[in-house]
């Protein structure tokens, strides 16, 4: 089958279903998602925003070492999780805490990494959420492998593989898209283009017409979507998941969004961007936008809004409790999971530490 190259290029403008004020766009490329889907997403958005802000506060209180917030990108986070079916997999990055939570993972477990008790704090197999990846773009290849394994066994799994705009520059991004394409692996590559890789603006990262234009070079259809428009994200990502599941191979989706806060709390964003640039994105906020639409269409009222906020508050409260617990680290853990059976060397080394601890009286 020779694919028509034109079908692989993204639309000129990102797909949008509702404008900044939450008004449905005329003649949009996709139908508006069903009200229930939008409400489900809205609840998750509210919770997501609350998680971001709570985590940020926990850093200031010294409960977390650092937090890469997705404040402003919650629509991407929520939609990426919501379009997946039960057996599907999600591959999040360090910034995708909210996506992992939207997929069912306990926020306290997600944040173990940043609290410092252990590396990955949740069981990836429970919700089919891979450990959050830090080495950029490396996880995209794992996503291809998961998808290819499922395909070889004839399972209908689709894998949502997330990365940022900066990560598209890594060699592993290239290899992942190409492998997925050649093996027709059912992977949706979802790039959250938030305009920055730490301090480096998009223009220093790529001079392509768009990041979605990278798809055609692999024979993969690329699509662009407004990353602050939850409805458009649900539609575009949902379609991409459907296509991948139907055997059409990998899909590439670029969402245009913005990182409202610094890279992490440790970062000083004033060194590389102006306040007014940030301010311009405030009005495009994904939460208020969807809220406006839902209210306008009588799908949301103050009571429901309050209920959502209360749910979010409960999550935040659980985070505060869960993350304030001081876990006494057990050094035996250091040696327990290096191999299925510790090597003789590790047995010796663990004994040495156990002895030290014993001598210090359990400290």
């Amino acid at each position: 089958m020779t694919r028509d190259p034109d079908h692989l290029l993204p639309s000129d403008r990102p797909v949008t279903l509702m404008d900044h004020r939450g008004v449905a766009v005329e003649g949009a490329a996709h139908a508006m998602p069903a009200p229930e889907a939008l409400l489900t997403a809205f609840a998750a958005l509210v919770t997501g925003r609350r998680i971001n802000d709570q985590a940020y506060a926990l850093v200031r209180q010294g409960r977390l070492a650092v937090y890469p917030s997705s404040h402003g990108q919650e629509a991407c986070q929520v939609a990426a999780a919501q379009v997946l079916a039960d057996g599907d997999w999600l591959f999040p990055t360090y910034r995708d805490t909210v996506a992992a939570v939207a997929r069912g993972v306990d926020p306290v477990e997600v944040l173990v990494l940043l609290k410092g008790d252990w590396h990955s704090g949740y069981d990836p197999s429970e919700h089919h959420v891979a450990p959050q990846a830090t080495p950029l773009a490396t996880q995209l290849l794992h996503a291809v492998g998961v998808a290819h394994a499922a395909r070889l066994r004839g399972e209908p799994t689709v894998v949502m593989a997330m990365c940022g705009d900066g990560a598209t520059s890594e060699g592993d991004f290239h290899e992942a898209l190409n492998f997925a394409a050649v093996f027709r692996a059912p992977v949706v590559f979802f790039v959250q283009n938030n305009e920055y890789a730490i301090s480096v603006p998009l223009a220093r990262q790529s001079v392509a017409p768009s990041l979605a234009h990278k798809g055609i070079g692999y024979g993969v259809p690329g699509e662009r979507v407004d990353g602050n428009d939850t409805a458009a994200l649900l539609a575009v990502l949902g379609t991409a998941v459907d296509r991948a599941r139907a055997g059409e191979g990998p899909q590439l989706v670029e969402a245009h969004t913005y990182r409202m806060q610094a890279h992490t709390n440790a970062d000083d964003a004033t060194r590389y961007r102006q306040d007014d640039e940030v301010a311009a994105w405030v009005e495009r906020d994904p939460v208020t936008r969807l809220e406006a639409y839902l209210c306008e269409h009588d799908l949301l009222d103050d009571e429901r809004l309050a209920a959502f906020a209360a749910d979010a508050e409960e999550v935040a409260a659980a985070m505060r409790v869960g993350l304030s617990e001081d876990v006494t680290p057990d050094p035996a853990d250091l040696f327990a999971h290096v191999y299925a059976v510790p090597t003789p060397q590790l047995v010796e080394q663990a004994a040495l530490v156990a002895d030290e601890v014993a001598r210090e009286g359990g400290h």
Binding site: V144, D172, T343, Q345
Partner: protein, 329 residues
């Protein structure tokens, strides 16, 4: 009932793959040119034809891609075996190997494990041009979370590869290129002692030669020559670099009181340094002389016409043995 057959190491490896794949449908083999061609060293010869394209297949030309995809497949219930075409061509996969393959079990407290094998045609002695003869074991051995093995016989090639594929943990499997075509009677037995055990290949009382992979035949030949000259050299074949068999190696060295480590790889900060360090740490008062190393010089691997200067040879091993401060010399 164990089966015996006369096989080259290449054939023994092929048999190991074939038998493992027949036994377990989750074992898959992939890499560059491993499909219809059967790999540039023919280790995967016939696998695609016999077991189908889903079980043994060619990938696009990208080593990080190969290893990264294997990680994902291992996460999702498969036991991938991948081939790196030559030692130096595994380097593009280094980040995947160090940051993921080696760490996944640990990162997830054992919830995600990676039963996978990275096969690496390895080391010199075949007159290969630059980038085709690296001895890369030290990079892997230094990386916690990987098992690293290197067979020196066809029988071990079979046994260790079966063990590697059966292992719940990732194994870097180093195949000495120059031994691919050495033929011997092989017991096709997956249940002989596997990863983590060294073997005393030759008994001896005067000094111990410690070697692995391509250097084992050199050590054995040196011991043979030494025997003719009246010196009795013991030869230990590590087989497994990680885990390291301290017990067998240290028992051997204590029994002779003298040792020489033989390895092709560049010596500085290497597996050979580790052997000297750990054996000395453990056997210091049994040693009559410092442990000597006959190892690669600290230079890039030489061009073909000069490689014999770099490879540890029998003479150099015997010189090192002579240097072990014999009272009567």
């Amino acid at each position: 009932m164990p089966q015996f057959e006369k096989l080259t190491m290449a054939q023994a490896l092929n048999r190991a793959l074939r038998d493992a794949m027949a036994d377990d449908p989750s074992v898959v083999m992939f890499g560059e040119d491993v499909g219809p061609l059967g790999g540039v060293f023919r280790i995967t010869d016939g696998l695609t034809a016999e077991l189908g394209e889903d079980r043994c297949f060619d990938t696009p030309l990208a080593e990080s891609g190969i290893v990264g995809m294997a990680v994902g497949m291992a996460m999702n219930g498969m036991r991938p075996v991948v081939e790196m075409q030559f030692d130096a061509f595994a380097y593009p996969a280094f980040e995947q190997i160090v940051s993921h393959v080696a760490k996944m079990r640990n990162r997830t407290r054992g919830r995600v494990t990676l039963p996978m094998v990275i096969r690496v045609p390895y080391a010199g002695g075949i007159g290969g041009v630059e980038h085709h003869c690296d001895s890369s074991e030290s990079y892997y051995a230094h990386t916690p979370g990987l098992h690293v093995v290197a067979p020196s016989t066809a029988a071990d090639a079979y046994t260790l590869l079966r063990a590697a594929i059966a292992s719940p943990d990732p194994v870097v499997f180093l195949e000495p290129k120059k031994l691919y075509w050495s033929k011997e009677e092989v017991e096709l037995d997956a249940d002989r002692p596997g990863i983590g055990t060294a073997a005393v290949r030759r008994e001896g009382t005067d000094a111990t030669l410690i070697a692995y992979g391509p250097s084992v035949p050199v050590a054995l030949e040196a011991a043979e020559v030494a025997a003719q000259e009246g010196r009795s050299l013991q030869v230990v074949d590590l087989r497994s670099i990680v885990p390291f068999d301290d017990a067998t190696v240290c028992d051997a060295v204590r029994s002779t009181g003298r040792a020489v480590v033989v390895a092709e790889a560049t010596g500085f900060a290497s597996v050979s340094s580790e052997i000297v360090a750990r054996v000395t740490e453990r056997c210091f008062h049994s040693l009559a002389a410092p442990i000597r190393r006959v190892v690669g010089f600290d230079i890039p691997f030489p061009p073909p016409k000069l490689e014999h200067f770099q490879l540890p040879g029998v003479d150099r091993v015997l010189d090192a043995v002579d240097d072990l401060q014999w009272e009567d010399s």
